[in-house]
Symmetry: C2
Subunit: 152 residues, 2 copies
DNA sequence: TAGCGTAATGAGAACAGTTTGCAACGAGGG
DNA sequence: CCCTCGTTGCAAACTGTTCTCATTACGCTA
């Protein structure tokens, strides 16, 4: 049997990225990223929602730390920040399978669907090229009414 | 010679649209729309900018009225509201020649360029159709670095 | 053209989302 | 186990926008 001392916890990518930058792993940071990993991709949470999900499951994290951590996770490319308008920006796990998806939003009830479209990506690339800009990111937001909200 | 009383001022589309809705034409409303018409399309102003442009040319309009008027002009489809992120929403004259253009934004200096692309419009239509949503509007924001900002 | 009802304005308070300053805390290298 | 310095919590500050309410004035009517 292996003695306890010989366990060497494999540092997660998150932890090693932090370390290599002089930053520290904290329980708060772990909890925020874990929340997103547990709920999976395709979910778009506001800072307030992240906060209440954590506190209502007994965790103690301040809202300021949520904001600081979300910013950090975006910079580290673990999360993606969305500006869907209406009630604060939202954050989602950056899925490397669907890095460049776009959003269809019901402006009445907030229902949000995702879709991918290469033409959109190419349109962004083309526009940047035409003006000599260096492309960073392009996002298409489609505002609409969902079936439920449109017939009433 | 025609007597002053016989002049019948042709009401502008703005004025007649207002009237037919029980609303009133006011000097403030006239000034805000005129500002946009004078500077032309392709210019994206924040509420604060509209306010300071008017007050610095001697007009007296409150910021609250600017916000109310901008909202009204958007609803009346004289203006278009843009959510380019960073420093408040912006407004532009809704040009009926280029109703569906998109924006390329330098995230460093704020330089903004416009472009059109039918594939983007079609992508929005297709996404709405796929999910049974009723399309309202779709906007592609391309975040990038302009030539000046990218090489320094 | 004066009078009137009511829409619109100005000024500031309120608000929502987010950031920041600072003292206390604690991760983690030595 | 200690010390250092990055991180946290809390409250105050901030930014963009909306709201409240007393006052003004547009424009219909006589
Ligand atoms: Mn998404
Ligand atoms: Mn434009
Ligand atoms: Zn809906
Ligand atoms: Zn630039």
């Amino acid at each position: 049997m292996i003695s306890p001392a010989s366990y060497r916890t494999h540092p997660s990518p998150f932890e090693s990225d932090l370390r290599s930058d002089g930053k520290r792993m904290t329980p708060q940071r772990k909890k925020v990223l874990s929340l997103f990993e547990e709920i999976g991709s395709g979910i778009h949470l506001s800072a307030e929602e992240v906060h209440s999900k954590l506190t209502s499951s007994g965790e103690k994290v301040s809202l300021a730390t949520i904001y600081r951590t979300l910013r950090l996770l975006v910079k580290m490319t673990f999360l993606n920040e969305l500006d869907l308008s209406e009630g604060g920006n939202r954050f989602e796990l950056l899925s490397h399978d669907h890095p460049d998806h776009h959003h269809l939003i019901c402006i009445r009830c907030g229902r949000t669907e995702e879709f991918e479209n290469n033409n959109v990506i190419n349109a962004g690339k083309a526009a940047a090229k035409n003006f000599g800009f260096k492309l960073l990111e392009s996002s298409l937001n489609v505002r609409a009414l969902c079936p439920k909200c449109s017939n009433k």
